[in-house]
């Protein structure tokens, strides 16, 4: 014991361990900040550590070459002992990291912890958020499958819309004229060196700021932030109720952190790794590229924006969004911090999560995309063919053969790009149907060149029978109205 103490004293004298501990893990925090609401930041940091550990392991096998990356991932999945599991942990770790970081941001926002004097803590946190999304995007590209290949294509199509700089920007990112070896190597360097280095640097700054300004106290509705008195009040609070972060306040972080580890390991074991989804061969065109969940809202926005606003919103929108995020502590500098007294902040968070959630759902289901196999893969519902005349049945066949089903659902199946045709006869008369089929309009292509007159006659004859039992076809309605 005596010996150990002497050994510690020897190191302490040289390294200053005692004072280092007192200034960091042992620093005093307000007792009220030992709350379950304050565990998300440390959990995000934990995810980052897991990502670094598993990332290093994956890099032992992964080959960042366009020709071999896909094979090396399959090798990891099927040959390397536990390779599939480490890929799964890395994938689920990234999902959890993005999710927990978002929750951490929402909590800090709701608790007004970005207000004076913690503006820079918020800004460095926003930087970490952007860097994490950068890691998520580059990581997705390293999966070097079909989604990755076309995902780069989507990114470059956006970059290519930049006025004047479009072409050089695309070439700089791709490292050449096409998506190829240079592209993958660039994303690899970003993912494992550049972005990781930046994240470590900004985390250091973020923690330094947390130590310097102190962890924000649990927001007391009767104690709004006043720049003149905040420091004195906070110091007084620390003097009266301050407890060392370790061991007093860290307990909840440890419990939550352990749960996060278990959740990541569990999700990885149950759901396994993601992909690789199809070899990165652009000639295999029967693919429907989709990004990982964090970019689904963006993917959905690109389908839903009015086309004439698109280029501007794609290029300017993110800049405005990011600028707003950074500006939060300057738009709302002081005053009330308690979420229950800040309805606008609460509504803003609910709105943002609802919008992102709905967009992600839409991105996943993509109702705007034609369902490519509906025309030859789906049967016609019985109600659409029962009791029809031969001419009408020919029309039903035309409907299937001309891929109408890819965009128009019938009996609940088929594409959702155009309206469902279950009740089309109740909406449009025969003449209107002919006009719509031949000339298109309202986002429908014109089919005049693709259909012979007899086909149109048959198709329309069949469509005129499509109406619910309780609603007669339009022409009957008109006819009835006209009758005195």
């Amino acid at each position: 014991m005596q010996r150990l103490r002497a050994l510690y004293a020897w190191f302490d004298q040289r390294l200053g361990l005692g004072s280092f501990f007192a200034e960091t893990a042992g620093h005093l925090v307000p007792e009220s900040s030992g709350s379950w609401f304050y565990v998300f930041g440390s959990a995000t940091l934990l995810c980052f550590v897991i990502q670094v550990l598993t990332g290093i392991c994956l890099s032992l096998v992964y080959v960042p070459s366009a020709a071999e990356a896909y094979t090396s991932l399959e090798y990891l999945n099927y040959e390397v002992p536990l390779g599939w599991y480490l890929r799964a942990v890395h994938y689920w770790g990234s999902n959890f990291m993005v999710a927990l970081l978002s929750v951490h941001m929402a909590q800090v926002f709701l608790f007004g912890a970005y207000k004076y004097p913690r503006e820079l803590t918020w800004i460095s946190g926003c930087l970490l958020f952007l860097l994490t999304l950068g890691m998520a995007f580059t990581g997705q590209i390293l999966r070097w499958d079909q989604d990755a290949y076309w995902g780069v294509g989507i990114g470059m199509s956006i970059a290519g819309r930049t006025p004047f700089l479009g072409e050089p920007l695309v070439h700089a990112v791709l490292g050449g004229p096409i998506i190829g070896a240079a592209t993958l190597s660039r994303f690899f360097a970003l993912h494992v060196f550049v972005l990781v280095g930046l994240i470590i640097a900004v985390i250091t700054l973020h923690l330094r700021l947390v130590l310097r300004s102190g962890i924000s106290e649990y927001p007391d509705p009767d104690q709004p932030v006043d720049r003149a008195t905040y420091h004195a009040r906070y110091e007084d609070l620390i003097r009266r109720t301050g407890v060392p972060f370790f061991p007093n306040a860290i307990a909840k972080d440890l419990v939550f952190g352990a749960l996060v580890i278990l959740a990541i390991l569990g999700a990885a074991a149950v759901f396994g790794p993601n992909g690789p989804n199809g070899p990165p061969d652009p000639t295999l065109i029967h693919t429907s590229p989709r990004p990982d969940f964090y970019f689904l809202p963006l993917f959905a926005v690109f389908a839903l924006l009015p086309p004439y606003t698109e280029t501007v919103l794609m290029l300017v929108g993110p800049v405005i969004g990011i600028a707003l995020l950074f500006a939060v502590p300057f738009l709302d500098r002081s005053g009330q911090r308690n979420p229950l007294r800040r309805p606008v902040a609460c509504l803003a968070v609910i709105l943002v999560f609802l919008v992102l959630g709905s967009l992600a759902y839409l991105g996943e289901t993509s109702p705007w995309s034609p369902e490519m196999d509906a025309w030859n893969g789906l049967p016609l519902p019985e109600s659409a063919v029962a009791g029809r005349s031969p001419l009408q049945l020919v029309g039903a066949a035309v409907f299937q053969n001309k891929q109408c089903r890819n965009c128009h659902a019938l009996g609940g199946t088929g594409g959702a790009r155009g309206p469902s045709l279950d009740d089309v006869a109740a909406r449009l008369s025969g003449d209107q149907l002919i006009r719509q089929v031949l000339r298109g309009g309202g986002n429908m292509p014109a089919y005049a060149k693709q259909l012979t007159p007899p086909e149109v006659t048959a198709l329309v004859a069949w469509m005129e029978t499509l109406h619910p039992a309780y609603e007669p076809p339009t022409h009957e309605k008109t006819w009835r109205r006209k009758k005195p």
Binding site: G153, S157, I179, P282, P445
Partner: protein, 178 residues
């Protein structure tokens, strides 16, 4: 009185250049030069692709004209002429070839003009459909519906010794349509 830390002088006072001050200034200047010299090759290396003057364009063969039936559209692929041995399958570029009649062709890039996803050809309805955001094009490549801001990107083509050649080499984008 104001102090100027770079010269070590107080305002209004002119001190002779000291050895320490000179050494500091020389040190800063030399480091700046060294840093710039180091940055030059590094930036040139990373941005080298931007310094290239010649466009990434070359004529590539899509095979004999006879391979393409008249009044039909089919998929063709070519190996990108600027490929490196490390590219793997990523340098195999697909495109849609429409032979209108005789020597009249249209060769479309596979990439949707909206965000670059691969469009598919449906001969029955004579439409190209995109799986990403629902862009649709007619058989002549013009926009039929959906978000695309223009028709499909079209390659320049020519016929030489019975072979169909297209001018390709780059990923088509709105600022650089093939």
């Amino acid at each position: 009185m104001e102090h100027d830390p770079t010269t070590g002088n107080w305002a209004g006072e002119t001190k002779p250049v000291t050895r320490r001050g000179l050494l500091l200034r020389a040190g800063v200047a030399l480091s700046a030069i060294g840093g710039a010299l180091l940055a030059l090759p590094v930036v040139g290396y990373v941005a080298g692709v931007l310094l290239r003057r010649k466009p990434y364009q070359a004529w590539v063969s899509l095979g004999p004209v006879a391979d393409y039936a008249e009044r039909q559209t089919r998929l063709a692929t070519y190996r990108n002429p600027f490929t490196t041995p490390l590219d793997g399958a990523a340098a195999d570029v697909p495109c849609w070839v429409r032979r209108i009649e005789g020597e009249k062709f249209q060769v479309f890039a596979i990439n949707c003009s909206h965000l670059g996803c691969p469009v598919r050809w449906f001969p029955e309805s004579g439409l190209f459909m995109c799986p990403c955001h629902g862009g649709v094009y007619y058989e002549d490549g013009s926009r039929a519906s959906g978000p695309p801001p223009r028709g499909l990107f079209e390659y320049a083509y020519r016929i030489e010794n019975g072979e169909l050649l297209v001018k390709g080499g780059e990923l088509p984008t709105l600022s650089n349509p093939v």
